[in-house]
Symmetry: C2
Subunit: 294 residues, 2 copies
């Protein structure tokens, strides 16, 4: 249900998108389908042309001044560029557009931006692909969309971002930036390293055994190793920007593992069975909103 | 390509299946489609009736003597029952049928059976479901199928099992039982605990954080946690019967994790990036035979 229907009055905006990759491009496709006007900025002219050709934006260019007059701007750059980009947008544009980002860490970004009309955001959606060609309609439908206001954030700006997120079909959650980072360390940033260590372990035995393991690996290994074999730049960036929470998670994970190893050594089968019974019971609480075909 | 076509002469057999669950039932469906006569034994009469009704067997009953006259028998019982079942079949049936099993551990089973006409086997296929109703046609197509003969196994018996496995559409691998157990510890039995510990870690934080994490968990967490939230009985049985190899795997895994934690603490970003580049490069070697939709 779009914002139009809920309000009875169409709120059509001009929306800017900086960074026309998977996230920026997918936002553009859906926002245009909701009748918003979408103007995009990319560092590369060829990306601008492809974004227009794909229908992800109405207009695009390489100069930030293009976004003068936008009501709201999504910053969809790599994590490390969000903070300088928000400053640059404020300096360049004048006016008072709401600015929001889509980065998967929030503490370091929100903490560095003292700006009433900036709203930290994190749509929990994506694919393994990158770039404007990977942009998809409906990417955010059914996904969680977190906004992380601070006590000084303009409430109207928060509501505007949340309203758009709901119009994209997302489930909205509002929380503190640091709480967000701890939660995503548990279910996303930490698991990357849990999964990567598994890939390395499987590949590090004697060559004949590893060769056999490669032939025998089935869907179970494919699932467990998937995010550990993903985009290295993204995994590294999350680690650099959410290091403390990931470290805490991995240290607690290591304790779980130590208990399991001790129980296996000691043949405490009752405890180990109870452990797997618990994990079987707990896991659906984390994945209930997702298709079980994963 | 079935054995018939490759030989030019149809080798039609009477095949027995003990245990009519997911594995036994799925074998029956495919073997009957290959024109073999399939007779099944289950402890439960109702399971026998369902197996006949589903077309998984031509005849079924609760008495092992039903399998007299079979050329080959698949033992598809739980792991712990394979060794006593093979003895019982030999005592009960007379003749010299080839006997094979489908258990996911091989060292403890093959080591306990001194029988020239027993061939340890492990089709690397399955679903999350159990029981005769879960049986599927084509379950073994494209899957690895390991046979683990010993120096005293009858070569003709080995070839017969491999021939059937290929007729089911599987890729055959022949290896030592202990090598098999080490390989599956790397890619299947060990990852169950890696994945289970992740579920427990995500669920063990402060309640507000865990509640947020449950709402934010996405496809990455779903994949990584899938096998850790699976069937507890199966995970435990694999642990009990392949404890040494799983322990070895988990201890090496823990060392990988310790290195990662140390590198995160020390902010050795170059090393961490190189790590993820390696795992991105290595993983496809393990999953090349599987659909990447997993």
């Amino acid at each position: 249900m779009g914002s139009e229907q809920r309000r009875g009055i169409r709120l059509v905006m001009r929306i800017g998108i900086v960074g026309l990759g998977l996230m920026g491009g997918s936002l553009g496709l859906d926002l245009r389908a909701l009748d918003h006007e979408v103007w995009g900025v990319s560092r590369q002219g060829t990306t601008c042309d492809r974004a227009v050709a794909r229908g992800a934006v109405d207009r695009a260019g390489t100069d930030l001044t293009l976004l003068r007059g936008c009501d709201l701007i999504f910053v969809c750059t790599p994590i490390a560029l969000v903070v300088p980009m928000v400053s640059q947008l404020r300096e360049t544009l004048g006016g008072d557009p709401v600015i929001t980002d889509v980065a998967s860490v929030k503490g370091s970004i929100v903490g560095a931006i003292a700006d009433r009309r900036f709203v930290g955001g994190h749509p929990m959606a994506g694919t393994a692909d990158q770039g404007i060609e990977a942009a998809l309609t409906g990417l955010f439908r059914g996904a969680a969309y977190v906004v992380t206001p601070t006590p000084t954030t303009d409430p109207a700006a928060v509501l505007l971002v949340e309203d758009l997120a709901r119009a994209l079909g997302s489930r909205c959650y509002r929380c503190d930036p640091v709480e967000h980072d701890q939660a995503v360390a548990l279910i996303s940033h930490g698991p990357v390293w849990v999964s990567a260590a598994l890939v390395m372990t499987a590949a590090a035995g004697d060559p004949a055994g590893v060769s056999l393991a490669k032939n025998l690996a089935s869907t179970g290994f494919a699932s467990t190793s998937r995010i550990g074999g993903g985009n290295p730049e993204l995994g590294l960036m999350m680690a650099q920007h959410n290091r403390g929470a990931i470290l805490g998670m991995l240290q607690r994970y290591r304790q779980e593992l130590d208990h399991l190893i001790a129980d296996l050594k000691g043949e405490h089968w009752d405890r180990l069975e109870a452990y797997l019974q618990q994990t079987q019971e707990i896991r659906p609480q984390f994945v209930r909103s997702l298709s079980e075909s994963i």
